[in-house]
Symmetry: C2
Subunit: 401 residues, 2 copies
């Protein structure tokens, strides 16, 4: 039995016309001889409208009850889509998270999958050609409904493919036709990648290339699930997200990611002694504020500048937290007109000199680097927001993408 | 632990304002020291709008998938109402049919309850003050969702009270403040009954006094559940539906029920021989047409007239079925301008002469009786629809209601 998992998001199941497009994708795959698990989200806008209602009913709705409410969205999608398939003569039925079952922890609203038993699913696939599965949802061991957090349907889809095993492929349908070398709105030379490996995809996704939920890529990597990102509205084969192979390593850089959701805070002239960093970052952590890049300048006369970046929406709150916590900075500076550009590629692991080429190319283009951070497969530079587009184009050209 | 089951219908949970009224009823009962199971329907109109959608998706939606779709209605109600209770500081949570669990057969769309294990419910009531339970739904032994058919929330509520045992009372909240001696729109003298026994209620309900689902009364009788029918919009104690007691038997007649949904069909001059009735009624039964009253006139020269009533909506189809099946009638007559008036009371069991008083009172008022049928606790007369209101008033007065 060859099984394929297909996942369609909210805009793909928004109404009857959209669902008919989805049906034709499903029928085409069945023609190829696949048995299918089709994972659906709630129709576009429904989750938000249910949330709105909940906040009319209570200022602080209980997270467990919120999950009972929100799971109705996917339940509606799968029931309707199953009817549509049956109407075309397909042996299909819906299956909800609790029926599979997908067992999660009890972190309502952002539950993590503990286990999936695919035995029942495989049994049902003997009888049915298509199982229409509600994404985004699971249940606790004691039968309470849970949701996996925003975008959780990607995670459901990849996790089901992993549970089915046998290299079951997972096709994630979205409104773009794959993963691009960089944002086409910024760089005309941007083009679609045929393949990208998990580590690269993780860096691209976390950088704001919002094609795939990060958690789903982590699961795909862990269980080695081949994931294809493709469009509901074309027949393009899309981009295959897969494990690294030799061919990939010969490519130095796969893509340029950008992230405008950056704000910088600088604490000037803080004491350069043990405990200073903790006294700054612990209160931020407790307030749930994620700090991204951190730079400490060289110490002069026992004092130093401590600079770091946070999400723009957290900027004001971060400064409040720092002010309340108290510190010995002479002043706190901040800026929200900055952006991050990152060069991503697994080839970097085995090749030195990539960072030199990045800095050199940006320098020649007259772009000032505010901060730099690197990982095994990524080099990120913080630049002035006004320089972002130029930086992307310069780097795209430098690495012949 | 004193437990009370309360059931609120779709118009009681239609919006936030309505739900707040429901909450005050729940809080009042909690003040009295009860632990509560609150059974809710989907908000008014939602089941219909989901059904409409299903029929846009498929001309003949699969009944199992329809149940997956429809159960979202109650799921939404219980999640929102639980939030509202928690907002008032009440320890509450929702519970869905499959979580209890309510196990049903797999007659999707009109499933019958096979068993309810109240162990979990009792355990949860140690922790929670109010369990907000989704009415109308259950699951099959293999975890598929089912619904109990229209008005099934009454059945859910009474069945849960029965499963909890210990004479757990079930209050059914509706938009009338109890069961009346007859339809107040037809008879100004109509007044609310304080008590009525199950058998009487069954006759009243099946006669079109649509306060309580018949199935729920049957379950109440079987498990001896005291049911109170009362209004969401007043503090009236309503009508207690309970087992027969001595006091009740002293009352000859409890109420006058009416039913306008009647149409009569007469097959004239059919052969009066064994098998004639079967040849007429078997095809109707196979077509799902319910026949109510049947009368066969005395045989003349080996032929007889066979008259019976069906629901008005089935009239045309019944005549088609009869015509197709073939018969030896000289002609088929029909009329839809008839109605049924019934005198109901358990006191009849031990008192003769009631039927005489009925016929006499109607005769004196100049009302012609088209058909008559009787049961242990009921005398029904078919009259011209134009005579119905007069008949109700005459009988209401005759039995001093």
């Amino acid at each position: 039995m060859r099984i394929l998992v297909q996942k369609f998001g909210g805009s793909s199941v928004a109404d009857l016309e959209c669902m008919k497009k989805v049906r034709s994708k499903v029928l085409a795959a069945r023609e190829e001889g696949y048995k299918l698990v089709v994972v659906l989200s709630a129709r576009a806008g429904q989750t938000n409208s249910l949330l709105e209602r909940a906040y009319q009913w209570s200022d602080e709705p209980d997270l467990a009850e919120l999950d009972v409410l929100l799971t109705t969205g996917e339940q509606e999608s799968v029931a309707l889509f199953s009817m549509l398939l049956q109407d075309a003569g397909v042996k299909a039925r819906s299956i909800l998270g609790f029926q599979i079952p997908i067992i999660t922890d009890d972190a309502f609203g952002s539950a993590r999958i503990d286990s999936i038993d695919a035995t029942r699913l495989r049994e049902l696939l003997e009888t049915y050609d298509v199982l229409v599965m509600a994404g985004f949802q699971g249940r606790t061991p004691d039968m309470r409904l849970t949701t996996l957090g925003r975008g959780g349907s990607d995670t459901s889809a990849v996790a089901i493919a992993a549970a089915l095993g046998d290299d079951t492929r997972c096709d994630i349908y979205t409104d773009v036709d794959g993963v691009y070398t960089t944002d086409p709105r910024m760089c005309k030379a941007a083009h679609k990648l045929d393949r990208i490996c998990y580590d690269e995809m993780l860096e691209m996704a976390s950088m704001g290339a919002k094609v795939l939920q990060i958690r789903s890529v982590e699961i795909a990597e862990k269980y080695n699930v081949p994931v294809r990102v493709r469009s509901t509205f074309s027949n393009d084969p899309g981009t295959l997200v897969t494990k690294e192979d030799d061919m990939m390593e010969s490519v130095l850089v796969s893509g340029i990611a950008t992230d405008k959701d950056q704000a910088r805070i600088t604490l000037c002239d803080v004491q350069d002694r043990p405990g200073t960093a903790a006294s700054i970052f612990n209160p931020l952590g407790e307030a749930g504020i994620v700090v991204d890049m951190i730079i400490q300048t060289a110490s002069r006369n026992g004092v130093t500048d401590m600079a770091f970046t946070v999400s723009r929406k957290d900027l004001k709150r971060a400064i409040d937290v720092l002010t309340k916590a108290g510190n010995d900075a002479s002043k706190i500076e901040s800026s929200a007109s900055i952006a991050k550009v990152s060069v991503v590629g697994v080839g970097m692991r085995n090749h030195s000199g990539v960072s030199g080429r990045v800095f050199d190319a940006l320098y020649k283009a007259g772009i000032n680097l505010i901060m730099i951070s690197t990982s095994e497969v990524k080099i990120s530079c913080l630049v002035d927001e006004a320089d972002l587009e130029l930086a992307v184009n310069v780097l795209h050209k430098e690495f012949d993408l």
